[in-house]
Amino acid sequence: MAVMGLGCIIGLLFFLRPTVSEFENRTLTTYPDFTIGNFLDGTYTSQVSLWYADTYPIREPLVRMNFKTKSLYGIQPETQLIGGNRTSDELPPEGERTTEPKREHSHDVDEPDVRIRAEEIEDQIVNGLYVDAAAGSAYTLYYFDQGATEAYADVINDAASQLKGKAEVYSVLLPTNAGILLDDDTLAKLGVPNQKQAIDYFYSLMNDDVYTVDAFDVLYDHRDEYLYFHSDHHWTQLAAYYAYTAFCNTKGIEPASYDKWEELVFEPYTGEYASFVDIELAPDYVAARIPQGTNDMEYWVNDADDSTLMEGNVISDLRDADEDANKYNCFVCGNRPFSHIHNPAVTDGSSCLVVKDSFGNPFVSVMVDSYEDIYTIDFRFTTKKLVDLVDEYGIQDVIFENVLMFAGTYDASELLSDIVYSDESAGGGE
């Protein structure tokens, strides 16, 4: 009873309630809004329960303790597959589809739905995780889904059609760490496709209005370098730079020189795999170079509310951050729904809009020197419409950046649909 009493008192210390979990690398649940409707149907109290547990003042150490306790449940095998009961569709020949392009899409941005789907996308991280204890690394697998692939290509094609004559559209599809670092035999044993072939298939479904960027080959050529973290599904800024050179090659511009930029190193860095696997992962660090043009940027915490505009840095200095801090957030202030970087060193009026997931954060950071204005939307969190942004800011290049594990899901194409299709076009006929 004393424990319950103590727990009750701690629970009442509202000022100690955390808002983020460093260990789980996520924002914690916020207190729900009260309405008569959500009270009567039990949603309100259910959300209060979730909020109470999720922001309990000593939750973080309790979560760590639970993680340690779980390590006693069994033995960690040398190679592991987590959440891998999935099958990959057979990769068809390039350009071959099983369905006609869809002409009806969802259009309205429903905030709660978007959040839920965004979370589902995040779940992909552990929906097929291969662990190699000997290498001290985990790898995110990619399972090919024919229908989801076609849906993704349809949205990109429609975006290019809408923007024809206004802006050039680029597609940058990125492999996961498994696609670059695991050999073909291992991938075949795990029943997952070669990611180079998968990306080529994606691109083969895109029409001629879309410029496709071959980032796979350049990454594969540098696979012996530090391209991916051992403890996280994300890539390093160095890998992002190589992808950027591939983009420059497609666009026909000279890439900025990575060697000239000042480097900051943040260590130690422990990524998200560490909260899912119980093996000793090889140590990581985040190396971030500051582009020459500028290190200043602005971003919106909520892009539907201008009062949430904040100033930040393209590369935040996290050398003094806590050991547990998510240092991948040093790039472009983390996952923000909308942000803008103005580079005064470039005065040619060039501008681009990067439609990105979290892999886009270091990617945007290395693009700074190539444009006067870089706008970025995170397709999971934004409420903006693509055409509106292009019109409002006179954007010349629209770059869709997605890692395969996200691009290959229906959630991704649905979230992108919310950005691409205008509310007026509801009912189809894009």
Partner: protein
């Protein structure tokens, strides 16, 4: 609200117990009733009306039965009680099921009503029916106070997840109860065991079972043979640990305030036959059907044909109680077949060890029927278990899960037996004779609930996964 949540543990229960023990004895039932109504309303207050209405009907019918002199009228009020309560249960739990079947055969109705199942309705409906039947039989007096009957039906310890507490078990305790320090200690200890069993063991087993057997997901078809077997093994562990944990917590919370609920489980996986299993599993439900359906139908003191009929009726209803789906009915009838087999063919001649293995195998496959409401999935899993799995014989994911949870599995096996209880008794006996044992016993008794609570709280804090299977019933 679920017992295994921080908001229940640190907000609701802590404040409830504090207030309960602070107020004058005269107001303790008020505190219990108000707490129970808040608890029930937490999942949405709209179904509170149903609980209060059903209780009002039962309260009225019981008084009418008691005050009626004529047997005909008494029977009439009893029938009215059953019609009202089973009618409400039928509408909220089975109407969609009946309509779907009717539609499949006759093509109508066009629309199948989608009715949300009010939480705990199966439990409190049976409690109230048992109360009125017992009044009808003259075994108990009708409760003159509506509020006290509402306290009985809504008591948060057992209202939404059982056990099905008979009114006669708690009739006197509603009016007078004086929990001793030992009662409070026992209650806290039992609650802590239940909470840890649920939060640590059952939820962990559930995570493995759901990973291997994702209902409604295409990946269920691509599981391996070993994946199906392992998944069902963990499901079998989960369902026992989950449900018995809730009963432990209910019994513990009741004891903290002076209620003594009967045991609902008696190590069912130690059973040596199916009959034995059902004497140990969900005892309050089995005894309800025994006392209110099976025996009134004639029980076993009748012709062989009638006995077979009685068994099939009881097990049809038992299956149906668990859910409005054919797989539950099939599950109930499946046990009826084995009970008849034991009665007429085996007749107690199976050696104990063989009987134990036989019971476990039958129960194991029973859980396969129980888990999958969709017959296509059910068939797929059964076929997959016998070599026709889409994913082949085994795979890396199954190996990973097996190795990562091997100690958990072994611990759960032990938790399903009475080994812990026996060790506890042995230590207690030794403590009567030996000072060292007494010291060890004292220390373990003092720290066990605390450690279990802390481990359970850590598990709850770290897990968003916290379902309770029996809420659907």
């Amino acid at each position: 609200m679920v017992f295994s949540s921080l908001v229940f543990l640190f907000l609701f229960l802590a404040i409830h117990l504090f207030v309960y023990h602070m107020v004058d004895e005269r107001y303790r039932n008020v505190v219990l009733l108000v707490s129970s109504l808040i608890f029930y309303s937490w999942g949405g207050p709209r179904y509170l009306v149903l609980l209060m209405g059903n209780t009002l009907a039962s309260w009225g019918f019981a008084l009418l039965i008691e005050r009626s002199d004529s047997p005909g009228k008494r029977k009439l009020w009893l029938v009215a009680e059953c019609v009202v309560l089973l009618g409400v249960l039928g509408i909220f739990k089975y109407l969609g099921f009946f309509c779907a079947n009717f539609q499949a055969i006759f093509g109508v109705p066009e629309l199948i009503p989608e009715i949300v199942l009010p939480i705990g309705i199966s439990f409190y409906t049976f409690q109230l029916i048992s109360y009125v039947v017992d009044v009808y039989r003259g075994e108990i007096d009708a409760q003159p106070s509506y509020w006290k009957l509402l306290l009985y039906s809504s008591l948060f310890h057992q209202c939404i997840a059982g056990p099905i507490v008979r009114y006669q078990t708690v009739a006197e305790q509603i009016d007078e109860r004086r929990p001793t320090k030992n009662d409070i200690y026992y209650g806290v200890r039992r609650f802590s065991i239940g909470l840890a069993k649920k939060a640590v063991l059952a939820n962990s087993c559930a995570a493995v079972a759901d990973t291997l057997l994702p209902i409604g997901d295409a990946s269920l078809a691509t599981q391996t043979t070993t994946g199906y077997w392992l998944g069902m093994l963990f499901f079998g562990l989960q369902i026992y640990l989950d449900f018995s944990a809730y009963s432990d917590m209910a019994i513990g919370m009741g004891r903290m305030v002076g209620f003594r609920y009967l045991e609902n489980f008696n190590y069912p996986y130690q059973a040596v036959s199916i009959q034995d299993f059902w004497r140990r599993w969900h005892i309050s439900l089995s005894s309800f059907f025994r006392d209110y359906v099976y025996i009134p139908l004639g029980g076993s003191r009748c012709s062989k044909a009638k006995y077979v009929r009685n068994i099939f009726i009881v097990w049809f209803l038992t299956g149906m109680w668990h859910g409005a789906s054919w797989n539950y009915i099939l599950w109930g009838l499946y046990f009826a077949v084995f009970l008849l087999l034991e009665k007429f063919v085996i007749r107690g001649r199976m050696p104990r060890i063989a009987g134990h293995v036989y019971a476990l195998v039958v129960v194991y496959f029973g859980w396969v029927l129980f888990k999958f409401e969709n017959f296509a999935e059910l068939g797929m899993v059964l076929a997959g278990m016998f070599g026709l799995a889409g994913g082949g014989f085994t795979g890396l994911e199954v190996h990973t899960l097996f190795m990562q949870n091997i100690f958990l599995m072994l611990f759960c096996f032990i938790a399903c037996t009475e080994l812990g209880k026996r060790l506890h008794k042995a230590l207690f006996d030794a403590a009567q004779r030996n000072d060292v044992a007494l010291t060890i016993y004292g220390i373990t008794e003092a720290i066990t609930p605390v450690i279990l609570l802390i481990i359970a709280v850590a598990a709850l804090a770290g897990a968003s996964y916290n379902p309770f299977i029996y809420f659907q019933f």
